[in-house]
Amino acid sequence: MPTTRRRFLSLAGGVTAAGTIPIVMLRPLNATPTMLNAAIRNVVGEAPIRTGKIKLDIPPLVENGNTVPMTVSVASPMTADDYVRSIHVLNEKNPQPNIGNFYLGPSSGRAQISTRIRLADSQKVVAIARLSDDTFWQIAAEIVVTLAACTEEVN
């Protein structure tokens, strides 16, 4: 196939695009499901994750991603030998996969925390509880966000 002008230009364009990729890709715009999985592994290590015991209370549809109320609770007697050590909340598509880590103890009485979070996009939020016997329990919720947070322009 002879080198036509069209072909030459498309090749040249391709090279230019490839050359700029390293600059553009320095920081991914959003966390990805892969980053979420890596963040989960950071919390639990190699331990198996079970479902149950933990409850994530978050609205399924939010208008404003800048402040989303959230409550995480874990079914636990909260005694000296059976209590929740920590609760970790993670997300799929914010610029960072972490939302918050919350450390409790037997003197907490009840394993429940509430806060308000930011969501940059419609996505999955994951909560993981670490119990005193070092077992991990997980729950996930899908949330639809109509106005995103975090990355909008400052006025």
Binding site: G109, R110, Q112, R116
Partner: protein
């Protein structure tokens, strides 16, 4: 400084009480761009601690995904009369404290 703390003033011994805290802070994510295109530097609270008569009963690591003016609610068992101390620590040397007293009968 500008913190709202909600702790019951009285409780029965062994009662589980809820503590709610709200502090005023911009929680700038560090991912937003100004109109001129430059990134607005991150300025967040990274850590919150609650101590009950000196011993830690609750602690949290906060990330940019926590909304502005961080609100936190958690529980503890009322064991003895005394003082709750709250501490927020953040970027650029930010540190803020608050306290509340409780009478346990």
């Amino acid at each position: 400084m500008a913190a709202l703390i909600n702790v019951p003033t009285k409780a029965k011994r062994g009662e589980i009480i809820e503590i709610r805290t709200l502090t005023s802070h911009i929680m700038e994510t560090g991912f937003r761009h100004a109109a001129a295109g430059d990134l607005v530097p991150r300025d967040i609270i990274t850590s919150f601690t609650c101590r009950y008569n000196g011993s830690e009963v609750f602690r949290a690591d906060l990330f940019p995904a926590i909304a502005a003016n961080p609100y936190l609610s958690f529980f503890t068992v009322a064991k003895e009369s005394g003082k709750f101390e709250f501490e927020w620590i953040g970027d650029n040397g930010y540190a803020s404290t608050a306290s509340a007293s409780i009478t346990v009968e």
